[in-house]
Amino acid sequence: MKLSKLFLSFISAIAILFSTSVVSFAKVVGDKIVLGAAISLTGKYSSNGVHTQNGYNMAVDRINSMGGIKVGGKTYKFEIIYYDDESNPKRAAQLAERLISQDGVEFMLGPYSSGLTKAIAPVTEKYGVPMVEANGASRSLFTKGYKYLFAVLAPANLYLDVAIETAVELNGGKPVKIAQAFEQDAFSQDVRLGILDAAERTGSKIIIDDKLPKELNDMAATLVKVKQMKPDVLVVSGHTKGALTAIRQIAEMKVDVPMLAMTHCDAAKLSKQHGKNSQYALCASQWHKTLTYKDDFFKDGMTYAADFEKEFGYDPPYQSAESSAALLVFKDAFERANSFDKKKVRDALAATNMQTFYGNIKFAEGGQNVDKPMVLFQVMCDDAGKCENKVVAPLKWASAKLIHPIPKWSER
């Protein structure tokens, strides 16, 4: 009895050893370049995690079907190993370890959200594994001196910068009064820092500076203050629940403010969930399908959106577009490095200077993309109550004129 148990554990130990060694040379297998990614498929980020995964998959299919990646005269195809990080930073870091040390992955794609990217970055850095990430915009990611981290998106502090600039410009260049409410998380706090910078630069005054809790569902107190103090701009950033709560309560409490700027409007499906109440809200976005950037794989934003819709059945949010762009960046870097050496690929990534359907990509020292401005769109509704997001700034891509100031509720 005892002997058979011993024997069984011996066998299973060998089996475990064997199963791990089988996959441990997986970085480039045959004609496949294996990338690793920990993605939030369950847990609180699961919807955006799926957007990210769809974006990755779409680009993998597209690049593979259009000739793959040419390195050293040979053609390779992309393949991604996914693990579910359960929206949990600790788990994400473990999975990054596992991808690198067990599965032998030598090139990583980023997870969803700044928090999870922050958890993974030290791991990829330790092993010298280049990571191109598309969903971590927090400024703190780019100030730590990471050498192997590259982000295709603009850093969080630039999200609503444009809104303050625009407000000042519309005020005849004179400073404005700003009210702001930000969630207590890495991303939103970075957006806040951006606003502080913009306020200082323009001489504007911040008259309300509220912080919102993670479990926010009531911001009436902030809005009462807004009613009393009458700022020129109200800035809100608290992920989807911040956007939804703000619009609901602004409409219910009939808060009149000349400009309302937010983040996460498209993820929150504002115009769908709130209809006409969300009209005139200004939203920061990394990307919009009407932008006219071009590349050879997805052509342009409109084509990308149509293809994405055909494949996944919904309009792509910017989270998907930027994730697709990450693979275009990897392909470009592999071909320029003409090698699978991690160091060489890293150097090639650092020298990236290209245009994708998502925008221009050029990395600064810290790894953030400095060649792609944020866009602002405004929710605009027709009389039938059908609402659309129209780009209003920067002017180069504007498909509609900014409506400012927002009409008072009594006149709507």
């Binding site: 699961s46 809790p213 009436a220 009613k227 939804l244 009939k254």
Partner: protein, 297 residues
């Protein structure tokens, strides 16, 4: 610290009214908790998750074009059976054990519900729009969304109905008898098993009503249950079991407290202040208790 709330008297009025309307809704959830705590001696950590599930029922009605206010009728109906189901599957196995076991069990249910809801409904924040408009008071200085007023009104109606039901109906009497002395009730022919199931069902139904109201007034998200559990726990701790007016008063008190904490300390400390208050009250109660004991010596 921001003392704006005292500089403008109308903001004080606004905060009080907001708090009272909110507190009435909390009190409804707390009443369900008190009921089942009193009858079965179970602290239900999954209370908030039942609330959220009830909210999703209203939300799905809204998605299919039915006015979410009907959720107030439909949601408790469905939730009653969910509650009875939970009782039959889990709670009846822990109902005679000590409090710790039941807390663990309901904590497990809470995690399970969170994950199931996340799996089934997705992690998006959702809400149901009632389109009820707004009431303006004192020359527009105080604004009250009608959805909040509606919520408070419905909560009061349900609470009154429940009180009458507990007083007059056969089941209500059986529940009260079981709460007083389960063993004696059993000897006198009350089917305590049935009473327990019904109590858990009624609690879940109350959560269903509250959830539907929350989907109309606030937002719904699979992970937002815990703050509602904590609030109702706290209200029950303050009011004591089987003290309905107490539950209503401490509910409203908590609502007003939260609103003022929001204005004075900032929104980020809103839930934090509730937790802090809970700790203070527990410490105070313990202090009082120990004094009593000394007196007895």
């Amino acid at each position: 610290m921001d003392f704006m709330v005292f500089q403008y008297p109308m903001i004080t009025v606004q905060a009080c009214l907001d708090g009272i309307l909110l507190g009435i809704l909390f009190a409804l959830i707390a009443y369900g908790m008190a009921l089942q705590w009193g009858v079965m001696n179970i602290i239900n950590i999954a209370q908030g998750d039942l609330v959220i599930l009830g909210g999703y029922i209203a939300y799905f009605m809204y998605l299919y074009g039915i006015h979410p206010a009907w959720g107030v009728i439909v949601s408790p109906f469905i939730m009653y059976f969910v509650g009875v189901g939970i009782y039959k599957l889990v709670i009846n196995k822990v109902v005679d054990r000590d409090l710790f076991i039941s807390i663990l069990a309901t904590f497990g249910i809470s995690i399970l519900f969170m994950q199931l809801m996340n799996f089934a409904f997705g992690a998006d924040v959702v809400l149901a729009n009632s389109g009820y408009g707004t009431t303006f008071l004192f020359d527009n200085a105080v604004v009250l969304p009608n959805s909040k007023i509606f919520s408070a009104f419905i909560s009061i109606i349900f609470a009154i109905c429940l009180v009458i039901y507990m007083k007059k109906s056969k089941l209500g009497r059986a529940i009260r008898a079981t709460a007083q002395n389960a063993r004696a009730a059993k000897i006198l022919g009350v089917d305590t098993e049935k009473v327990y199931a019904a109590t858990f069902g009624i609690n879940a139904a109350l959560c269903g009503v509250a959830g539907a109201l929350i989907s109309i007034t606030f937002t719904i998200h699979p992970y937002m249950g815990l703050p509602y559990t904590i609030r109702s726990f706290m209200i029950v701790i303050v009011a004591g079991l089987g003290n309905l007016p107490g539950v209503a008063m401490s509910g409203m008190g908590l609502g007003v407290f939260e609103e003022f904490a929001d204005y004075l300390l900032g929104t980020e400390f809103r839930i934090g202040s509730v937790f802090l208050l809970l700790v203070l009250i527990l410490v105070y109660r313990r202090f009082k208790l120990s004094r009593k004991r000394e007196y007895l010596k």
